[in-house]
Amino acid sequence: MNTEITIDGKKIQAQIGKPLIDVASDNNIYIPSLCYMRGKPCLGTCRVCSVRVNGHVMASCTVPVYEGMDIEVETPDLVDMRKALVEFLFVEGNHNCPSCEKSGRCELQAVGYETGMMVARFPYRFPVRTRDHASKYIWLERDRCIFCQRCVEFIRDEETGQKIFSIDNRSTNASIEIDVELADKMSPKQVKRAADICPVGCIIDKDLGFNKPIGERKYEIKSIKERILKGKPNE
């Protein structure tokens, strides 16, 4: 069943219950996100898709459409808030784009460009994080993890459905972990899938770095905004 909602003053017919972020993109309104994957259950971890719904700031991936919604997306304070959220992600980890093999294919970098981030307004935390390279096929570069939990929820052992990745500890002590035994059973296709859904360069397919020339990398060919609005993020 459809209802009429308003996004930035524009009246839109939307299906009740559909994630607000999807409705927005279906109507050519780009809302950046770093954890949400269309068609997958909402994670709501990154908060970068924050908008204002009937006066309250909410992550648009977590909000199903309901009757009487009045949504603000492009107000100056919300635009700046989303940019600040992206900046938080940069300062909370150790992101070194120049030498990162995900550069040009990295969603965090791409969203940084889309939100107009030039430099972080917050002090860098420079956390001390160790790398995990014990798995045969996956290099876990924890410096870059933004704790989106895509890998935790969507990459599972193909036989048992067990989680291969998990988050250990909380807050500033949080750490992405990998079950090496299960990870070593992953097929090359699944390893690639894990590396692809990681929005940063945290999950790396060992030995495959820098295989795409500059100019031919994902977001150099087509921007993340264009991909999302076309409903084909991985095309």
Binding site: S99, A134, F210, P213, I214
Partner: protein, 490 residues
């Protein structure tokens, strides 16, 4: 009373250094040192990174010769994954030629930058010309057409680099075992034929020839100065092919003496058997030397002058450079050339040599072929690699080790400027003695002569010490009691 002169910083070089000159009570030079006062930590902070990141991260050490660092790292990675020269495996033709193309393009643009922007101002205006004149802006005023051509030449070099590596600076092309792209017909044709705002290959060669003519003219007018300025001894070192001719990308390391006798020739993978490094408390830059000959006799010179001294010839496929090299060799009648300002002659020859090598490569259909990577498996893994190339400033070495998981555990970089440390200090001493010694009044022009001597090596102190901070050099002169007498700092 003795004095201590200080030049701080030395200008128009890459990196930050200073010179101190100690004079006695008669104003005779008793000591002269080039201090490198910056420090970097690339060898340490690469540790813990995945091995395949090394050529990408470590090329950030330099904004001038990044392609050399990238390729040196790539060669080391070839070794690590088991398809490198350490196992006697030759690179596939297409990736090797693509790598060479990027390498030669960088040598062209780097030498053009050093030669015209940093060195030619003194050649045209003199060492004691006012500082506000002897720089690239002075050059613009005196000869705008020349500067326009220089800018176009550099642009062409940068565009060639971009074609190979995707970006004008710090691009990415080489991966373990090969490259990630070849050169398309359209890319090749753009570089060969040029376009609006971009020179053609033939114009590049013409402009390169002009650079050489500028040196010849300067030499003709200033023969005594050019031939006597800092004539300092050193062994010469370069990568050579099996015929004993310079190969900027790969070969054995050959070291020759004043009579061009081969002192040592080595597979560069064995460098630790031959070389040791000394340190001094007054500089962050080390002093490499051949163990067999000791620190003084075993110090080598690298870079353009060393290469043209070591190489027997250039190929017939680079006729213009070959002819220029023969003229250079004839000048010293078969002996090695130790005249520091002749480094600029050698650099101009290498600009032309690079241009001709690039032209040959661009006409090679291998560049368009699709076989880009030597396949390798886990079983081939060696975990250790050494890469050496002839960077614009000389012989550059990267040595990495990684554990079975691919984690870098060791990194050693021996860069060209480090190899030149002893000979640069000899040059500073020689110029100080000749230009400053015994003079009651030290002029700015005299101090600049010291910098001219250093600039001839086009030192890259940032690479050599592996630093954060500002670029530039420092000359200080102290009196006999150690009191600072004069100091020059930009």
């Amino acid at each position: 009373m003795g004095q201590k002169l200080v030049i701080d910083p030395v200008t128009r070089i890459e990196g930050h250094g200073k010179v101190t000159i100690q004079l006695d009570d008669n104003n005779q030079v008793v000591d002269a040192k080039l201090h490198v006062v910056e420090f970097r930590g690339f060898e340490k902070f690469i540790q813990g990174h995945p091995y395949w990141e090394a050529p990408m991260l470590l090329q950030r050490i330099c904004g001038i010769c990044f392609v050399s660092h990238h390729l040196c790292g790539a060669k080391a990675l070839d070794d690590m994954v088991g398809v490198g020269y350490s196992k006697g495996v030759d690179m596939l033709p297409t990736p090797e030629k693509v790598r060479r193309l990027g390498h030669y393009a960088q040598q062209l643009q780097s030498h053009v930058t050093a030669y015209y922007y940093l060195i030619v101002p003194e050649m045209l205006f003199g060492m004691d010309a006012p500082p506000e004149q002897r720089n690239v802006l002075g050059l613009v005023e005196a000869n705008p057409e020349l500067v326009k051509r220089v800018v176009q030449l550099r642009k062409w070099g940068q565009e060639a680099i971009k074609t190979v590596l995707g970006k004008r600076m710090h691009g990415i092309n080489s991966v373990p075992g090969g490259v990630n792209k070849n050169i398309s017909i359209a890319e090749r044709d753009r570089l060969l034929q040029g376009e609006d705002g971009l020179l053609s290959m033939d114009e590049v060669i013409e402009y390169a020839k002009e650079g050489l003519e500028i040196f010849y003219d300067f030499h003709e007018k200033n023969r005594h100065q050019v031939d006597t300025f800092a004539d300092v001894p050193a062994l010469n070192m370069s990568l050579v092919d099996k015929d004993g001719n310079v190969d900027y990308y790969h070969g054995n390391i050959r070291i020759t003496d004043d009579d061009k006798n081969i002192i040592t020739e080595m597979d560069y993978h064995d460098y630790l058997d031959y070389f040791s490094e000394a340190t001094e408390e007054w500089s962050y830059m080390k002093f490499p030397f051949l163990k067999a000959l000791g620190r003084d006799a075993g110090s080598v010179r690298v870079g353009p002058l060393a290469r043209v001294n070591v190489t027997k010839s250039y190929g017939t496929d680079t006729p213009l450079a070959k002819e220029a090299l023969e003229r250079f060799h004839d000048y010293t009648k078969g002996k090695a050339n130790n005249m520091t300002l002749h480094t600029n002659w050698a650099r101009a020859i290498e600009i032309l040599h690079s241009a001709e090598l690039i032209k040959n490569l661009l006409n090679d259909p291998d560049l368009q072929k699709e076989n880009l990577i030597l396949m390798h498996s886990k079983a081939d893994w060696t975990g250790e690699g050494v890469g050496v190339v002839e960077a614009p400033r000389g012989t550059l070495l990267h040595h990495y080790k990684a554990n079975q998981e691919g984690n870098i555990t060791f990194c050693n970089l021996v860069v060209a400027t480090t190899q030149n440390n002893t000979v640069m200090n000899r040059t500073v001493r020689s110029v100080a003695e000749e230009y400053l010694g015994g003079n009651d009044i030290i002029t700015e022009g005299m101090m600049n002569a010291i910098e001219v001597g250093i600039r001839a090596y086009d030192p890259c102190l940032s690479c050599a010490t592996h630093a954060t901070g500002n670029m530039p050099l420092d000359v200080s002169i102290y009196d006999a009691k150690g009191k600072l007498f004069a100091n020059k700092r930009r």
